[in-house]
């Protein structure tokens, strides 16, 4: 047996855990090997010194301290709260239910307060319910009115809502009532005044007043209106097939109008008269918010002498309007915000007003 093997066995030998045969061999080796015997002696001495280390005494009140903690622990175990919540199998589901309840409650609270915030952040769709087919003849609205008496036709002019809107940029693309209706109205409502200026004649005149530069980037509602009137004034009756298609498209267009999120909807269009008896069409739009709550009205005279009324309706609910004279001079410029009125402009011209 090698010295190294012997020394590895010395520890077990001193502990008495060697087998009898190994112990015999080791003892035989030790008798003949003073080096290994010395190693055994040193190891025995080491263990003696380790064992000789005195034990430390616990502090006097250690038992009391331990038992105080133990009693507190025992008391805690028997408390109602501990009984209810201690077992993990019960505690975890309760906590899970509580967290779920809180999450659901928070979600519904958030939903209940959401519309106010939504008004500011929801972008308006690119193509909205305001869009109307381009080929809809302006006379479609009054298709049935042509068969009505003049008075009833007059009442029917108080259109409460029509989908004649355009989308986002909100440039008014109002389709004027049919020429016969307007013409008849003018004749019926102002019989005693000065003879009404024929619309067929006035429309081209108005068109001539519109500068070309406004017809490009900033196409004014007035211009659109005038063009519509001019088209109607030509007296060309819309084909009946086209009328029925337009009626269908109108119905389709009305449907999404109910789903309006925010924007402008036609409130009414009425005929007023100039001092000289000339009829003028005054259109009023309602500015509505996400909840279809009317914020304000826009009223504008489609035959006025202001042109290039530019409106931009932003997703935030902000409305920018500006008006220009025919020569391009800026008359006023305003910004309306959902949270109130804010004006940025040159004058206080009271054409539009907005009050929440």
């Amino acid at each position: 047996m090698e010295h190294n093997d012997i020394r590895h066995m010395l520890s077990d030998y001193l502990d008495g855990s060697l087998a009898a045969q190994e112990r015999g061999e080791l003892e035989e080796h030790l008798k003949a090997c003073p080096v290994c015997e010395n190693a055994l002696r040193e190891l025995r001495k080491t263990i003696e010194q380790i064992k000789a280390i005195e034990e430390i005494e616990p502090p006097a009140l250690m038992t009391q301290k331990i038992m105080a903690k133990v009693r507190a622990e025992a008391k805690g175990e028997t408390s109602i709260f501990h009984k209810l919540f201690y077992p993990l199998a019960i505690k975890l589901p309760i906590q899970a239910v509580a967290v779920t309840f809180l999450a659901v409650t928070t979600f519904y609270v958030y939903l209940s307060i959401r519309p106010a915030a939504k008004f500011d952040v929801t972008p308006l769709p690119e193509t909205t319910q305001f869009a109307v087919k381009k080929d809809t003849p302006p006379s479609v609205i009054n298709r049935d009115e042509q068969n009505m008496p003049q008075d009833s036709r007059l009442r029917s002019k108080q259109v409460t809502q029509a989908p004649e809107y355009k989308s986002l940029d909100m440039k008014p693309e109002y389709k004027a009532p049919s020429l016969p209706a307007l013409k008849g109205l003018a004749a019926a409502s102002a019989p005693t005044s000065a003879p009404a200026k024929p619309v067929e004649q006035s429309a081209p005149e108005k068109n001539q007043m519109i500068p070309g530069k406004h017809a490009t980037a900033r196409q004014s509602p007035g211009k659109v209106q005038m063009q519509g009137q001019a088209a109607s004034a030509s007296g060309t009756p819309a084909p009946s097939k086209a009328n029925s298609e337009s009626l269908d498209s109108l119905k389709k267009a009305e449907e999404p109008a109910d789903k309006t999120e925010a924007g402008r909807r036609l409130a009414r269009d009425i005929i007023e008269r100039h001092s000289n008896g000339e009829p003028k069409l005054v259109v009023t739009y309602e500015i509505i918010d996400l909840l279809k709550v009317k914020l304000t009205e826009e009223r504008f005279n489609l035959e006025g002498d202001r042109h290039g009324i530019q409106k931009e309706f932003y997703a935030s609910g902000q409305l920018k309007t500006e008006a220009q004279y025919g020569d391009g001079k800026l008359d006023w410029y305003r910004e309306y915000r959902p949270d109130g009125l804010k004006k940025i402009g040159k004058s206080d011209y009271d054409w539009f007003w907005l009050k929440k």
Binding site: S11, D15, E42, L43, T46, Q49, I53, E57, P58, R71
Partner: protein, 216 residues
């Protein structure tokens, strides 16, 4: 529901350490403790607190920390005493708790070491290690005591220098006289591993002492 009953074994002096006879069977006290008998558990505390404190102290090397570990060990033992099935001796089970808590505390202390500010009350670091603070003593022979203390402090220092895996085997075997089997149960290792580690631990202590004292 826990209920406190009269101690099944007479408690002579709960504050007096070592007054409860060790020969009493732990099993009876454990059984009573499992039924909520706090007095029985108190007897177990009295019986084993010194041993647990010493184990913790030898493993940690700090008296105050060792006291806390020993207290925690008993509280932990009480909390889990219903899970104790008696497959091993109560002492073995309790020692395993103490060793685990000591190891955890040692890790915490090591991680704290870099953050603790220097204190004048800290042990003074010397070439041989920390100079331990003087403990009050009633020993009559000052010279003998000094020599003895010197040897013991050197042995203690050598033990402290051991890696914890070797130190715990050495402490449990050579200082607390647990068997290989018990140590294997406590530390969850095979008996052969215990023997191997013990051999290495003893060899390292021997070399350390030879370096410290010149001769054994």
């Amino acid at each position: 529901m826990l209920h406190e009953t009269k101690p099944s074994v007479a408690l002579s002096n709960t504050a007096g350490v070592g007054t409860v006879p060790i020969s009493d069977d732990d099993a009876t006290l454990v059984s009573s403790s499992q039924n909520g008998d706090l007095s029985a558990f108190e007897l177990l505390v009295c019986r084993h607190q010194k041993r647990m404190l010493n184990i913790a102290f030898r493993l940690i090397g700090d008296y105050d920390e060792a006291c806390e570990v020993a207290q925690d060990a008993f509280v932990s033992a009480y909390k889990n005493i219903k899970t104790f099935r008696g497959q091993a001796k109560f002492t073995t089970w309790l020692t395993a708790i103490t060793v685990n808590l000591s190891k955890n505390r040692l890790k915490q202390m090591k991680s704290r070491q870099g953050r603790v500010a220097f204190s004048l009350n800290d042990p003074i670091q010397t070439e041989d290690g920390n100079m331990t603070l003087d403990q009050p003593s009633n020993e009559p022979s000052v010279l003998d005591q000094l020599v003895k203390r010197d040897v013991q402090s050197r042995v203690q220092e050598c033990i402290k220098k051991l890696d914890s895996t070797y130190r715990e085997v050495l402490v449990l075997r050579d200082m607390q006289d647990f068997s290989y089997e018990e140590i294997g149960t406590m530390l969850k290792m095979r008996e052969g591993t215990v023997k191997s580690r013990l051999f290495r631990a003893r060899a390292m202590i021997k070399n350390c002492l030879k370096l410290a004292m010149g001769d054994l």
